[in-house]
């Protein structure tokens, strides 16, 4: 047992700042244990969301020393013995009080993502799927909706103005999950990701993957394949020609996919032609074209970098923990 300095952002929608606490820490504890001790002994009204305290519900998302994390999954033993631990609310969402933020953005975006479309020809109990086919979607269904990927994504992190057009990594993996679901009846998941979710804004810095407590390979396994599906269709010469010579009501979706629609695939993927869906996507230009190389793939900047993974969303010259005095948590309303 020893005493440690904690700095916690206290405040509400009007005003706030970092408050210093000296608090007892015991062996084997996590940050959330210490926050609970603060509540019980020094700051009874310190607001902090939590539920399971086991890394399974995704409620206790905060930023610890500037890095988005789950408080229940951050062991005290990972800090230098005398270092101050600074806890601030998720920066991309409006603060409600102390460490609690308004995460309704994520729920709004979830509502705007079309739900699973059950195959009309199958009654419950008749679904047959192979494990290898469900596994890809199962990875994305591990998501605990902690929204760490949503808060870290630089498309919205300091750019509230992008929020209306951008659904964020959590919803990209939802789109990918449904797109890869062996029995989902819709075929326009990739088009939706481009048209409505703004997947084109993502330039694959992989910050979302980096912070994911479930280690979902958000970028590699969801975002890039979804971008490729969009790209394939966008640059498909038949679709291009069709756009030139057919009236809109004559257009028929030609679903072409680099991964899922090949006849040698699982055998379950038989997308039905869907009229009128795709060319609409092209009417509204996606935020940015996917810049595919000659091989039809996206050029990955990481292959050119001197380090594994992508450039840090925080800037490559920033290392963690960030000293408390350098943390610039600014109240969103007071910017």
């Amino acid at each position: 047992m020893h005493t440690r300095t904690f700095q916690i952002w206290r405040g509400d929608v009007h005003d706030g700042g970092l408050a210093d606490y000296q608090v007892e820490v015991n062996e084997g504890e996590v940050v959330l244990d210490v926050i609970h001790r603060l509540q019980a002994t020094q700051a009874p009204d310190l607001a902090c969301r939590w539920n399971c305290k086991a890394g399974k519900c995704g409620s206790c998302s905060v930023e610890i020393n500037g890095r988005p994390r789950l408080a229940c999954m951050t062991r005290m033993s990972t800090f230098e013995p005398d270092a101050t631990v600074t806890v601030t609310p998720l920066r991309s969402f409006p603060v409600i009080r102390d460490l609690v933020t308004d995460v309704s953005y994520n729920y709004t975006k979830a509502r705007e993502t079309p739900a699973f479309a059950p195959p009309p020809e199958l009654a419950p109990g008749q679904y047959r799927m192979q494990q290898r086919d469900v596994q890809r979607s199962q990875e994305f269904r591990k998501c605990i909706e902690c929204f760490l990927c949503q808060t870290v994504c630089h498309v919205v992190r300091d750019h509230d103005e992008n929020k209306p057009a951008f659904a964020g990594p959590r919803l990209f993996i939802r789109a990918a999950e449904l797109s890869m679901h062996p029995l989902d009846d819709r075929t326009d998941r990739a088009a939706h990701a481009a048209r409505e979710q703004g997947i084109g804004y993502c330039n694959i810095t992989k910050c979302c993957t980096e912070v994911c407590p479930e280690h979902i390979r958000i970028t590699d396994n969801a975002i890039i394949p979804m971008k490729e599906r969009v790209a394939d269709r966008r640059y498909d010469p038949l679709v291009w020609l069709g756009r030139r010579i057919l009236r809109r009501d004559q257009m028929v979706e030609q679903y072409v996919s680099s991964t899922a629609a090949t006849p040698t695939g699982s055998g379950h993927w038989t997308p039905a032609p869907l009229a009128g869906a795709f060319e609409q996507a092209l009417e509204v230009p996606p935020p940015q074209a996917a810049p595919v190389g000659p091989d039809g793939k996206l050029p990955l900047s990481e292959t050119l970098l001197d380090r594994a993974g992508a450039a840090s969303p925080f800037g490559d010259d920033v290392s963690f923990p960030v000293p408390a005095e350098d943390l610039r948590y600014v109240h969103p309303d007071s910017v």
Binding site: P44, C48, S59, R111, M129
Partner: protein, 630 residues
């Protein structure tokens, strides 16, 4: 009086875990305007913690399985105290409820022929648990959450508003039910984010608030499990049954402290994990009760062959029902053969390859790796009993889930009593909440369509508002966190896994003292998102529910399932005929416990058991004619 938000609905579902969401889906499908009230954010409910799976006799892995076998296992697990009709409906309807989830988008693990895979679990005769790795609860809650979103999308297409027929009120807590002349009129509470007061008016209310584990120090339960629905039902004039039966999960982590109380799923044992004491002995062979002797292996060699050839070998005793395992661990620790932190070792690392462990138990592996720096592929875990589930709860009708004493009040899931009898089998809670969640939604919607709306009495509103606000206005009141810790230690030390008459009596005295102090609890700070205030209000619920448990435990002078009396160590067939019923006769009255006969088993169901098995549970008079009603 100050401003109170006012909302009118046909059906109000209190609780947004599996049972609540399933009920809301059904109510909305039946045409009722439905509100879901969630104490946390939408999709964060404690259901996410369920790891093992959902039990349903689909027969995908072993075609010998059927609802009859599932029913039989459930009754055995519940020590024949179950509400027979609930156990039957549950076993019959669980497969349909699971299949239905697939049409909502759930992705269960598969068998080689593409069906839903099913795994072995303690107390289940055949592989029966539909699962997704070890995160089945998350899959379930996410699936139901996404089904609700999909219904809201339909409503949006029809009306232009997502919330027009099904609305989620997240981070909203109900503090009182509004009841007028014995009929539900609505519910009263507050919005956590702002501290605003809120009232719902509805002819039908479904309680789906889950359990009571937060009254214990070592618990797997999240902060929400403060017995709200139990207490709301009691105060509204409802009855709780079987409150003495609490399930202590045999294998919760006891070390390190960051993971204390967190469950190690039973499938660790189903997949080959073994329990050993500090001397290295695989001690479960010493604790096989007579009633299970025929089904379990007598020696490690036989047990080890069961994993590959289950038809010709007895099961490993690590797969005994939970209460037996919990009791065995407790006995080992008390005999001085425990680990330094007061548990025993659960080892899967010496039994399966690291690669198999990571594939079969992925979230377990990650959880302990990251939370506690424990690598379960390399070292054993330190485990011990942790408060996990309450079998007791609101007494409801099996068919409709309606309470008998409050018109328009329904309940489903862990908040109800009877379904699981004296002990719940693993995997039966997820199927329970689907089966009875659906029934609750269906019947609540039908009730709302037929019943007249009761007016809310102004005086009730004023009282509810005053009760909710008083801790904020009391300066220098008792610290709610300290009170909770005291309550937890009273319950943990005196009403824990092994109970004594003298300790239970002492617990009741201490609870009476605590009741005085909880009445003087104060919460410093403002209205907006003030956790001290929230806890202060929860304490009121926790206290009355704890009192129910202690009183019922003191009365039941036998040991059965989730109730173990050191002074009455044996099961007594005469007590199998008795349900203990708790009620609160007035606002500030003590809990009253009365006795009620357990309905007899119909002949067709009794015929599913061998006479010599029935002889272990029933009295000689009952055995002469087991179908004879009381």
């Amino acid at each position: 009086m100050e401003n109170v938000q006012r909302h009118g609905y046909d059906v109000v579902v209190i609780g947004a875990g599996g049972a609540g969401l399933r009920a809301a889906i059904e109510a909305r499908l039946a045409g009722a305007r439905t509100a879901i009230i969630s104490k946390s954010l939408f999709g964060k409910a404690h259901t996410v913690m369920a790891e093992g799976g959902a039990a349903a006799a689909m027969g995908n892995v072993n075609s010998n399985d059927s609802w009859q076998v599932h029913f039989r296992d459930t009754m055995r697990g519940g020590k024949f105290l179950n509400n027979v009709r609930m156990a039957q409906l549950h076993a019959q309807e669980a497969p349909e409820r699971i299949w239905e989830l697939e049409s909502y988008g759930a992705l269960f693990d598969r068998t080689p022929d593409g069906k839903i895979s099913q795994r072995n679990f303690g107390g289940h005769e055949y592989p029966r648990l539909a699962h997704v790795g070890d995160r089945t609860g998350l899959e379930l809650i996410r699936t139901l959450q996404q089904k609700i979103v999909s219904l809201q999308q339909e409503d949006f297409a029809g009306s232009g508003s997502y919330d027009s027929r099904l609305r989620v009120f997240d981070e909203t807590t109900i503090t009182d039910l509004l009841v007028t002349d014995g009929a539900v009129a609505g519910a009263f509470g507050y919005v956590r984010q702002t501290g605003e007061l809120i009232r719902f008016e509805a002819p039908a209310v479904v309680l789906a608030t889950g359990g009571i584990g937060r009254s214990y120090r070592v618990t797997s339960n999240s902060w929400e499990y403060t017995g709200d629905g139990h207490a709301l039902a009691l105060r509204a004039g409802g009855q709780l049954i079987n409150m003495e039966f609490l399930q202590f999960h045999p294998t919760g982590m006891v070390w390190p402290p960051s993971v204390r109380g967190i469950l190690v799923t039973e499938s660790v044992r189903g997949d080959g994990g073994v329990l050993t004491n500090s001397e290295g002995r695989r001690f479960m062979f010493d604790y096989i009760p007579e009633v299970f002797r025929d089904y379990y292996a007598q020696a490690p060699e036989e047990a080890d062959r069961w994993y590959t050839d289950p038809d010709n070998h007895g099961r490993p005793p690590e797969l005994l029902p939970r209460d037996e395992v919990a009791r065995a661990i407790n006995a080992e620790v008390k005999a001085g053969r425990g680990t330094p932190a007061g548990g025993v070792y659960l080892d899967v690392s010496s039994r399966l390859s690291a690669e198999v462990i990571r594939r079969k138990l992925p979230s377990m592996y990650h959880q302990f790796r990251e939370l506690a720096d424990v690598d379960i592929t390399k070292q054993p875990m330190e485990v011990g009993p942790t408060c996990h589930y309450v079998m007791g709860g609101v007494e409801v009708d099996a068919e409709t889930t309606a309470t008998a004493s409050v018109f328009g009040l329904f309940a489903a899931g862990e908040v109800t009593g009877g379904m699981h009898g004296a002990n719940r089998l693993g995997g039966n809670s997820l199927s329970d909440l689907l089966v009875f969640g659906k029934r609750a939604g269906e019947h609540a919607a039908a009730h709302a369509a037929a019943a007249a709306r009761s007016p809310v009495a102004d005086a009730d509103l004023a009282t509810a508002a005053e009760t909710a606000l008083v801790p904020l206005e009391r300066s220098g009141g008792e610290n709610p966190y300290a009170l909770q810790q005291e309550l937890q230690s009273v319950m943990g030390n005196l009403v824990g896994i092994i109970r004594r008459g003298s300790e239970l009596a002492e617990a009741l005295e201490k609870l009476a003292e605590l009741r005085e102090r909880v009445a003087k609890v104060g919460a410093p700070g403002g209205r907006a998102y003030n956790p001290a205030w929230h806890l202060a209000l929860d304490l009121r619920h926790m206290l009355v529910v704890s009192e129910c448990t202690a009183r019922a435990a003191l009365q039941r002078e036998e040991s059965r399932g989730g109730h173990t009396r050191e002074d009455f160590p044996a099961m007594n067939p005469a007590w199998r005929q008795v349900n203990l019923v708790c009620s609160v006769p007035g606002d500030h009255a003590e809990v009253r416990v009365t006795r009620q006969p357990v309905p007899a088993m119909p002949p067709d169901l009794a015929a599913l058991f061998q006479p010599d098995e029935l002889a272990k549970y029933l009295t000689p008079e009952e055995l002469k004619d087991p179908t004879d009603a009381h």
